[in-house]
């Protein structure tokens, strides 16, 4: 078999072995769940309050502290 096929099968096998995959949440085309939370100024925010006319960019990050 070609080298690239061997590499692909090897990678798939390893992926199967290790199993652990990251989770990425709602699929493209799906609606995200609505939510509500306080921001750094204590203001209550939700999906509508964050929306711009062209939509929104939502960044999930691990921590602002560590």
């Amino acid at each position: 078999m070609t080298k690239s096929k061997r590499l692909l099968l090897g990678a798939l096998f390893l992926a199967f072995l290790y199993g652990q995959r990251i989770k990425t949440g709602p699929e493209v085309g799906r609606q995200v769940p609505d939510f509500s939370a306080k921001d750094q100024e204590g203001r209550e925010q939700n999906l509508s309050s964050l929306m711009g006319p062209k939509g929104a960019m939502l960044v999930f990050f691990r921590s602002a502290d560590w």
């Binding site: 709602p26 995200v32 964050l50 929104a56 990050f61 691990r62």
Partner: protein
């Protein structure tokens, strides 16, 4: 377009961070990871009871005005991040070009640009190469037989720890009367784009000059011909300049730091 970020930090820790980094867009506090769980991105490999339990798999969603996901960007390795400047460029088509350099040869002009001017550890950015051929000139596309095709290489061992796969744009078939052949070529303007991920801090920081300047080097190889003759193949040296920025290691004051339950 609205911008917001969400983490499990307290309002106090987020305010501390926002003030220090001069962030004006909303940072939402999700201390019980309710939103993180609602999105189903809770990192379940972290043990409950530890201070990092509750963190998400980090990533970015681009939503339309109705709240539907248009695109999402998540990396397998949490230490790698896609540059938001590059996400905006991909979504809206207009490249946010922070860095520009120009080189000229007898046959063409090459412009280098990048999506970001700051080099941060683990950051994934886009490099672009714009080639403007002189009138009457053509160069060859990869896969051509008998001629030297264009080739964009980046140096090994530099700030780019990962050089991601990229493809060359579609070429056109040109019939060369002089030799009676039809070959794949580029004429006029060629736009090349590829992504790199900067090395982690330990490998990246030593590469920066005392003033913080970092350079990614590469080459652009080509063979130019016009309708009468072919010229000697050339290799153009390329440079992308960045300013190194290290990781923010500053902690919030002790009373604002998260404690395990």
């Amino acid at each position: 377009m609205g911008v917001a970020a969400i983490s499990y930090d307290s309002v106090g820790a987020l305010k501390n961070f926002a003030d220090r980094q001069h962030i004006e867009y909303p940072l939402l506090s999700d201390p019980e990871s309710k939103i993180i769980r609602a999105f189903d991105i809770l990192n379940d490999t972290v043990k409950p009871g530890t201070f990092s339990y509750g963190i998400p798999y980090p990533g970015v969603y681009i939503l339309d005005a109705q709240g539907k996901v248009e695109a999402k960007y998540f990396e397998d390795d949490y230490k790698d991040r896609v540059a938001t400047a590059d996400i905006l460029a991909r979504q809206f088509g207009t490249p946010v070009e922070a860095v520009r350099g120009v080189a000229e040869t007898r046959h063409l002009q090459v412009t280098t640009a990048a999506s970001n001017s700051l080099a941060r550890p683990g950051l994934r950015i886009a490099l672009s190469l714009d080639v403007e051929l002189n009138p009457g000139m053509h160069v060859y596309a990869p896969g051509v037989q008998g001629y030297i095709p264009i080739d964009w290489q980046l140096e090994d061992g530099g700030p780019a720890a990962k050089k991601h796969a990229f493809s060359y744009p579609a070429s056109e078939m040109l019939h060369l009367d002089a030799i009676g052949e039809t070959v794949p070529v580029y004429r006029g303007h060629i736009r090349l784009r590829r992504e790199i991920t900067f090395a982690q801090e330990g490998a990246l920081k030593p590469l920066a000059a005392p003033d913080g300047q970092l350079m990614v080097k590469g080459t652009f190889r080509y063979q130019a011909c016009d309708d009468r003759k072919c010229y000697v193949p050339e290799q153009v040296p390329l440079e992308w300049h960045f300013q190194y920025e290290g990781l923010d290691r500053q902690r919030a004051p002790a009373e604002l730091q998260r404690k395990p339950d």
